[in-house]
Amino acid sequence: MVQFVVDVLIRAVDLALIAIGLSSVYSLIRFPNVALVQYATTGALLALCLQMAGLPLVVAAIAACALVGIIAVVLNVIVFERLLRAGSAIAMIGSLALSMMFSAIFLVTAGPRPKRFELEINPPLRFLGARLTEHQLMSVGISALAIIVFALILFRTDLGRCMRATATNSVLASATGIDTRKVTNTVVFLSGVMAALGGIGLSVKGEMSAQLGLDMLLPVFAAAILGGLGNALGAAVGAVVIAAAETMVTNVNFGPLFGASVLFIPAAYATAASFLLLVVVLLIKPYGLFVSEVKRV
């Protein structure tokens, strides 16, 4: 049981940061940015480059996050502001196109081989019967911290208030003197930082490759949509739900129910489980689990 919780938690933090980034940007500019998962890969690769250049990992990670945040803002100003004038579907397809360009760049610069951070790897710690490595613990800790900081920004600062005002009614917000463009770009910056941190967190625990982001695309989207796009903390809950669904499929022994000692749903269906869950939830709650705002047309 403890192992189950640990597994769900580890998987959930993998998804949560990128999903939160996705959802918070959506709350302001109303389109799901596919390229965000590529920001995660960019963050991991940049951090790796900086570490190889001699920086300590922590410094490299912070620098990489900031750089990715800046990249996100630049792309938002150059590409997405323009695309959004033609509608959110166009912007979404544009983000898809942008993500293909990222893939091409990764292919030429990083190549297809898996890479690792230079970190010492030790046997797992035992914790109430569950196995957990230091890096996993570290990654969970940092992610949890990032989520808390993000929630504090959202609910305890002026910036957060402006963000929420803009998200609810951007015309009214700008009428009351909020610089909505600045607010949007700040959030875009934060989403880039969250995505990069998510990518680095993933890579610290294991391998990274140019495919990292694209591999995360569907589960992250599933998490963000489950939580209700636009609801940043809902995305975190969505990540937990998706992680739990996948873990149930792979790790719950249905043997006793059928009189066999060991009987599992084939692991090949683990990914299908989260997508099915997504489809079923959308059938019942078309805007995800936690959206209370006015229904859009």
């Binding site: 192992q3 597994d7 580890i10 998987r11 993998d14 292919l107 297809p112 081989r113 898996p114 690792r116 790897i121 046997p123 797992p124 196995r131 490595t133 993933l202 625990k205 294991g206 391998e207 490759s209 495919q211 990292l212 694209l214 591999d215 995360m216 996948e246 873990t247 792979t250 790790n251 022994n253 060991v262 599992f264 084939p266 692991a267 090949a268 683990a270 990914t271």
Partner: protein, 363 residues
């Protein structure tokens, strides 16, 4: 941008007809997409063979050998585009490739229809056997390697095996054939996990296998997945149970030595007369040990095709095919002796039994 590319394409077309002093063969391998690491390694083997032949003065009285390597992108339509280009534009008699069975089969079928020679160097699906005259396999199909692995596992007195393989044409073939062979030898496969490629973690799959308390974990994997599985089996502590790798060097190429200490496995035999020299040439040119187990087949394919062309005295597909059947009887390749059966498949292959004990040791 499009205009410029079109212009470049036209330019390419006009400059195409190959020099008369050149003998051109073709290859289609995945240089991008999910199997890019393997495809790139196949290309290395091909390059080494071309270098070697041209150093020795080429073919048919001094013609230089050239192999046009095309990217399949890991998708069948692109692979067919490439194969059709090689056949109808470059007019090559022999096409080597691909890696995935799902792509090798349509490419092979097309080549057989066109009356060209097809050399399979990477796919092990049993369905390759039915491609027809003109299609040769230099790699033992699933039943060959899996049968050898099953025998080896039984010889080590392991009775209950848990199998983990990728959920693709390669993995499904290995799992099925291993299960069959192992059961016939009195063993029991207690669980088979087909993992989905491109996941960030396989912890949960590994824990599921652990529940059935096997004597041995049998696995085959490559690329990032292989690295992840090895690391996580170490992190979960389940590497205390023996691990058996089908193609050990491929499974462990990106792993930290600490994770794979004590693993058993089988691998290709590079100790034939050509093998040791080949391994040395590979290390010299690419400054690293074999990246996967698949480069040697690329090398042997080019060398055998060249030998067949010399023997036939021409580069006609029919003549090459006939000569290949004659040569393919105890041919000394870098991957060991190559003998084709009646279906032009390599039905026997000498594998090495290996164990990792502070580096790879022969058992």
């Amino acid at each position: 941008m499009h205009k410029a590319l079109l212009a470049a394409a036209c330019l390419a077309l006009s400059s195409l007809p190959a020099l008369a002093q050149e003998l051109v063969l073709g290859a289609v391998v995945p240089l991008s997409g999910a199997s890019a690491t393997l495809g790139d390694d196949q290309r290395r083997g091909i390059e080494l063979a071309v270098d070697k032949i041209n150093e020795k003065g080429g073919l048919l009285g001094g013609k230089k050998l050239r192999v046009i390597v095309e990217d399949s992108g890991g998708r069948a339509p692109s692979a067919l585009d490439a194969a059709k280009k090689l056949v109808t534009v470059d007019n090559v008699p022999v096409v080597i490739g691909e890696y995935s069975s799902g792509i090798t089969i349509p490419v092979g079928q097309y080549l057989v229809q066109e009356g060209r020679v097809h050399l399979n160097i990477g796919s092990s699906s049993g369905k390759i056997r039915g491609l027809g005259d003109g299609s040769f396999s230099l790699i033992g199909l699933d039943n060959v390697s899996s049968g050898f692995a099953a025998q080896d596992v039984v010889d080590n007195k392991w009775k209950k095996a848990a199998v983990i393989v990728p959920n693709n044409a390669y993995g499904q073939g290995v799992a099925e054939q291993f299960q069959k062979a192992f059961a016939a030898l009195g063993g029991e496969v207690v669980t088979t996990v087909m993992y989905t490629e491109g996941q960030t973690t396989y912890r949960r799959e590994l824990q599921q296998m652990e529940r059935s308390e096997p004597d041995v974990y049998v696995y085959s994997a490559y690329g990032k997945e292989a690295a992840t599985i090895n690391r996580e089996s170490f992190e979960l502590g389940i590497n205390a149970t023996p691990w058996y790798a089908i193609y050990l060097s491929m499974c462990t190429s990106d792993a930290d030595p600490k994770f794979i200490q004590g693993q058993y496995g089988l691998d290709l035999n590079y100790i034939g007369p050509d093998g040791a020299a080949y391994e040395a040439a590979y290390k010299a040119k690419y400054k690293e040990p074999f990246k996967t187990s698949f480069n040697g087949y690329g090398y042997d394919a080019v060398m055998m095709a060249a030998a067949a062309i010399e023997k036939a005295g021409s580069a006609e597909p029919k003549a090459i095919s006939a000569a290949l059947k004659e040569i393919g009887n105890g041919y000394k390749g870098a991957t060991g002796d190559i003998t084709f059966d009646a279906d032009r498949q390599r039905s026997k292959q000498p594998y090495l039994k290996l164990k990792i004990e502070d580096g790879v040791q022969q058992r």
